[in-house]
């Protein structure tokens, strides 16, 4: 177990170094960074001033050392737009985004697991029809369209929920549903097919032969095995949600990282974009690590390997 986690930890650290290298060159491979960071009609003097201020005149190796040294201390430079340290700006937005992602994930799992398990355990039943229906809808309905429809129906017409902003528990419902609908569809499909597969396993027959009733067989034996597959996709989906939240946060004016990416790109605020990219990558790496831990907790074959 320790060896397993230790090796995953080393892999994650190496991955983060790779991310830093890529984000460093990302800025420099998209043309002249000083030009990118200044308005299109900026005077040559202003561009030159920017180049000097950002240190783009120094040799690449000096720039790289400076960047990595700063990154190690969490310093990604000043945001051009907000005139404040980029990473601390990102950190201010993190709670809102995590809140929204968790709510969306909770919504998706809450509906996907029972639908998938019951659908998969009784193919052809009403549960199965529902499961397959939601699986298809979740995969095909674009989330920005769904977000707009939710606003039209539940905020404007019915007035049940606020249409934008982050104020109180009601305000998170619509963005969470809009963001969670795609993963909901994916989870339902996955849980359903995994359940179909697991319920035919010999050890499920063994459980029935012990006289265990269906409900307990599904909960104790089937779902535990299905959750191995589920955990892997939940980890990946968490990462995607960060990306998906760009539209959703913008539509609902949710003060999270997604909306900040949108603003930073439009303002050509490269240090901020860089900080967000590194943070998001770090977030995904941590999620992967947690996924690996979850695997080990669920599956003794991983826990006791080597």
């Amino acid at each position: 177990m320790q060896r397993y986690l230790f090796s995953r930890l080393i892999q994650s650290a190496l991955l983060m170094v790779g991310v830093l290298v890529i984000t460093f060159f990302m800025v420099r491979l998209t043309g002249d960074p000083a030009r990118v960071m200044t308005p299109r009609d900026a005077s040559p003097e202003r561009v030159e001033a920017m180049r000097e201020a950002m240190g783009f005149n120094d040799p690449l190796i000096i720039q790289f050392t400076r960047y990595m040294g700063g990154a190690a201390r969490g310093n990604f430079g000043q945001s051009l737009h907000y005139r404040a340290p980029a990473m601390s700006l990102v950190m201010q937005r993190v709670p809102a985004t995590i809140e929204l992602t968790l709510a969306a994930m909770g919504f998706a799992l809450f509906f996907a697991i029972p639908l998938g398990v019951f659908g998969g355990s009784r193919p052809g039943s009403i549960w199965d029809t529902l499961a397959r229906g939601f699986g298809l809808l979740g995969q095909t309905v674009p989330n920005f369209w769904l977000a707009l429809m939710l606003i039209v129906v539940f905020a404007v017409d019915l007035g049940w929920f606020p249409s934008f902003g982050r104020s109180g528990p009601m305000s998170i419902v619509l963005p969470a549903v809009a963001l969670g609908f795609f993963p909901l569809g994916q989870f339902v499909r996955l849980v359903r097919s995994a359940t179909l597969e697991v319920r035919g396993e010999d050890y499920i027959r063994t459980a029935y032969s012990k006289g265990i009733e269906e409900r307990a067989v599904l909960g104790r034996h089937v779902f535990r095995n299905v959750s191995i597959t589920l955990v892997s996709i939940v980890g990946v989906q968490f990462g995607y949600m960060l990306g998906g939240s760009i539209y959703i946060e913008s539509i609902f004016s949710w003060p999270g990282i997604g909306r900040m990416i949108n603003e930073a790109v439009q303002a050509r605020d490269f240090p901020l974009v860089q900080a967000i990219a590194v943070f998001s990558a770090g977030f995904v790496v941590v999620l992967n690590l947690l996924t690996d831990v979850a695997y080990a907790l669920i599956d003794p074959r991983i826990r006791y390997e080597d």
Binding site: E201, D202, Y203, R205, T206, A207, Y208, S209, K210, G211, I212, E213, E214, R220, H221, R224, N225, I228, I298, D299, P300, R301, Y304
Partner: protein, 376 residues
Amino acid sequence: MHGETVLRVRDLSVQFDSIDGTVHAVNNVSFDLKRGETLGIVGESGSGKSVSMMSLVRLIAEPPGKITSGSAMFITSDGEVDLLSLSRRQLSRLRGDRIGFIFQDPMSSLNPLMSVGAQIAESVRKHTQLQRAAAKTRAIELLEHVGIPGAKQRYDNYPHQFSGGMRQRVMIAIAISCNPDILIADEPTTALDVTVQAQIADLTNRLCKELSISVIWISHDLGVVAGLADQLMVMYGGTVVEYGEVEQVYAHPRHPYTIGLLGALPKLSKTEERLVNIAGAPPSLFSPPTQCPFADRCPWVFERCESERPALYDVGGEGRAGVVRSDDATDGRGSSDGWVDSHLTACFYDLERNRRRDADEPVAVRPGALAHEEQG
């Protein structure tokens, strides 16, 4: 207690619906199982031996499976009950408690995510009033009972930390955890090494004799069954073709299929280059059972075999030949406790031969069959 019938199955038929049509997997199977005895069931893959036993306790997939006829009286000191008429809830109370199971592949029969101890304790807690700690003690006791060294430490181990033979011991522990009346062992040694096979067979046999559990031992290994079973049932094409005491059937097989099977056993005394086989292929189970299932491969086939399905006839002794053994036609001579003392076979040729023995009248058979008969 010994000698009483604990399970009386009559006329059991099971069908499966498939895209290509209805599969007649089990047709009118009847047998008796006596308390404390072992009934061996042999037959090739697809002969219906597993399906017929699993359908008794509804461990087949329904749908597509469907039990179309029959009864299965389960007789204990608490009274008689027809297993096939029970609800799923009532059945699940019997499974694991009164009827235990061991399956073919120990590598996949245990849940990989649960400790073996927990899997034994789960069954114990389901059927007894024992609390968590007591169930654990009982599970450790059972692990010791099936010969797992260091049972206390092994309780928390997971299936992947056990070898195939050890896992099968765990399965046995689960099966006998509630001192069942019946143990259904579905080819429990097929997936194991030969040396381990013998250990598992001996262990099962010893424990069941100790606890006077009746065993239904499904196998396609005639050697294993010969050493374990009291009664033997030979299945072919979803039907019982021969049934009797194991020594009787091995010494004097009466059905052409059994004769072929025993003839196909390699002999240590002879160094044959090729293994003997039964010509032809197993019957299609799609067609409804209107003829003898073995007719296409039988060297002694004659007209009647292809127009009518033979019932089980008693061939136990000269005087008893030709008696149809079903409950409404025991002819006053069979004991009310069923067929256990009989040697039955479902073959018209054997019947005809017996009938005409006195009259010295030959049965018309396919040309070339007589040479075969001399061997048999």
